[in-house]
């Protein structure tokens, strides 16, 4: 880039550097500048979103306190991974971390993306520039992960203070929260490309709510008939909950790896799906 022009009006005939990208794949979709989208997001967060940012952290903590301490007195001890007996609070804490990672990622990749697309028209402005839709998608997913990272760290601190962390493996719960988030966010963004109205957003909530209520978050799924159990086990959140629970108590086995693999596959699928839907999402 040449030195800034001293003229008040732009020097119209100053040729801009042109990079030959004809052979680069995705030249139509990617301007290799997702960094600027992230910068914009961080600027917005730094300027005004502090209160909201912090409030998002309280939701899982409130659940933990109410369900763990209040309901815990009624429930007592529960069978955890590997047949060990754990207090109810320690049983639900990892599940709430997984759920919170899912909720944050889905909110950011559906509601937030849809709002910026249709109402704030933030993406419309971005796509008038030399950014491509892939820059926007990558930037937004990174920002969602950044928020998820902050919340996961905060929740881990609460778990530590409450004495709910009993294994060094629990350190992995933060990166696993990000893995869960990236899986949901990548699929969520592809789903958003099919949305046309806010009403359809309610449908997403209607999938999320039962997933939270039934995925062994607050009670073991063994209370249900086997057919329903298999259905729950096909859903992503159950794998996230199990994975977190294994790490929290340090019960690590092949199954732990299997749950993690589920999210790796989900992420690969989600990224592929979102990429082929990028035009439909942003260039409509």
């Amino acid at each position: 880039m040449s030195a800034p022009s001293q003229d008040r009006l732009p020097a119209a005939h100053r040729p801009l550097p042109v990079v030959d990208s004809a052979k680069r794949p995705l030249a139509a979709l990617y301007g290799r500048n997702a960094r600027s989208v992230i910068e914009r997001g961080l600027k917005v967060i730094a300027r005004q979103n502090w209160a909201v940012l912090v409030s998002g952290f309280f939701e899982p903590v409130l659940y933990l306190l109410a369900m763990g301490l209040g309901l815990g007195t009624l429930v007592g001890e529960v069978t955890g991974p590997g047949g060990s007996s754990v207090p109810y609070t320690a049983y639900i804490a990892p599940a709430l971390l997984a759920t919170s990672a899912m909720n944050g990622a889905i909110y950011d990749s559906t509601w937030n993306v849809f709002f910026k697309l249709r109402f704030a028209r933030v993406y419309q402005a971005m796509l008038q520039t030399s950014l491509g839709p892939m820059d926007v998608a990558l930037g937004e997913i990174f920002l969602a992960l950044f928020r998820g990272f902050l919340y996961a760290c905060g929740f881990m601190v609460v778990m530590l203070v409450m004495g709910l962390v009993t294994s060094p493996w629990a350190v992995l719960m933060v990166p696993v929260a990000l893995l869960i988030a990236v899986g949901f966010a990548s699929v969520g963004m592809a789903v958003t490309s099919y949305l046309t109205s806010f009403q359809q957003m309610d449908v997403i909530n209607f999938v999320m709510l039962p997933m939270f209520l039934f995925s062994a978050t607050l009670y073991p799924i063994e209370v249900f008939p086997e057919a329903i159990q298999w259905f729950i086990k096909a859903m992503p959140l159950w794998h996230g909950v199990e994975l977190m629970r294994h790490l929290a108590v340090g019960f690590v086995s092949g199954a732990t790896l299997g749950h993690a693999l589920y999210f790796v596959v989900m992420t690969v699928f989600g990224v592929w799906f979102t990429t082929i839907r990028l035009r439909a999402l942003f260039l409509r």
């Binding site: 119209a12 030249a27 914009r40 600027k43 419309q124 402005a125 971005m126 491509g132 409509r284």
Partner: protein, 316 residues
């Protein structure tokens, strides 16, 4: 070796051939071809829904075309969108300023989308704020700006990458007359320093003020092409006499006016009498004892060209 773009005036910067965009059954843009030279000010005139904004978005590659070809600065926007847009400044029909940022940050963040360095943007933002006459509002949120201020900021923002080609989609729609004139002044200055302007508008006065050459579009097709002056010469008369006889009588008197005019247009509320001398025509009409309730003599405008070409008015 990449073909270096010589930005000499007169070279075509946008070339569209048989450009088509189909939404389901609706042919929004129906096989139009045009070429825009570097340094000229080019207009797309037509009513709402004619296909102007759709065409604009295909120039920037933010909308994929159904068929036809498009070259902007020698590149296909559908294949090389990010690069094509690096040459462009875009002013969309509705402002899409970033409401979560201040005026100054809007310019800086937007510049970052082009990969421009902070060192450049810091001074550039101040220059653009001055150009947009927003010095007192630099630290304000964009939500606090008036409609005219937002529009000027959107135009300033479009200049952050020093584009060779500025796309303006209905730049003054929704602004009061004073704000429009301020804006036109800014655009004139850009034109003077050689920025190529592409303007869509459904206001004939705007097209006449800003455009060297324009195409008239209706239902996705080009109806006519030329300078505002030549279009008026080819499709209208020098002057127009507008007369009203009241809703009941307009139809009744129209037969008696036929030989006074080159051409007549009967609208629901008035009759347009096309002639080279409006005052003389009015005298002749009065001499026949047909006194209109109101009358007005004016110069022909692009509105009349459009009425002639399509049988409809530009603004419903």
């Amino acid at each position: 070796m990449h073909p270096v773009m010589s930005p000499g005036a007169g070279d075509p910067i946008v070339v569209a051939e048989d450009l088509t965009k189909v939404y389901g059954e609706n042919r929004a843009v129906d096989g139009i071809s045009f070429s825009i030279s570097s340094g000229e000010s080019f207009g797309l005139l037509g009513p709402n829904g004619a296909g102007k904004s759709t065409t604009m978005r295909m120039i920037g590659g933010t909308l994929t075309r159904t068929s036809g070809s498009m070259r902007v600065a020698g590149l296909d926007p559908a294949e090389r969108g990010p690069e094509v847009r690096a040459h462009l400044g875009v002013v969309p029909q509705q402002d899409n300023l970033d409401e979560e940022l201040t005026v100054r940050d809007n310019l800086i963040v937007y510049g970052r989308y082009f990969g421009l360095p902070h060192s450049y943007l810091r001074t550039k933002a101040d220059e653009l704020i001055e150009f947009a006459q927003l010095t007192d509002n630099a630290r304000a949120k964009t939500t606090a700006l008036s409609g005219g201020m937002k529009r000027r900021l959107t135009i300033a923002r479009a200049l952050v990458n020093e584009p060779r080609l500025l796309l303006l989609d209905e730049p003054t729609t929704g602004l009061d007359p004073q704000a429009r004139h301020v804006l036109w002044d800014r655009l004139f200055r850009l034109k003077e320093v050689g920025v190529t302007l592409v303007v869509t508008t459904h206001f004939m006065d705007e097209a006449e003020q800003l455009c060297d050459r324009l195409i008239v579009i209706d239902k996705g097709q080009i109806m006519a092409e030329g300078s505002p002056r030549s279009l008026i010469r080819d499709y209208s008369t020098r002057e127009v006499l507008e007369v009203r006889f009241g809703a009941q009588r307009n139809a009744a008197v129209v037969d008696q006016l036929a030989d006074v005019a080159t051409r007549l247009e009967v609208l629901p509320d008035r009759i347009l009498v096309y002639t080279d001398d409006g005052e003389a025509a009015l005298e002749e009409i009065s001499a026949r004892g047909l006194t209109p309730i109101t009358s007005l003599v004016r110069r022909s405008s692009l509105e009349d060209v459009f009425l002639r070409l399509t049988g409809r008015t530009l603004v419903d």
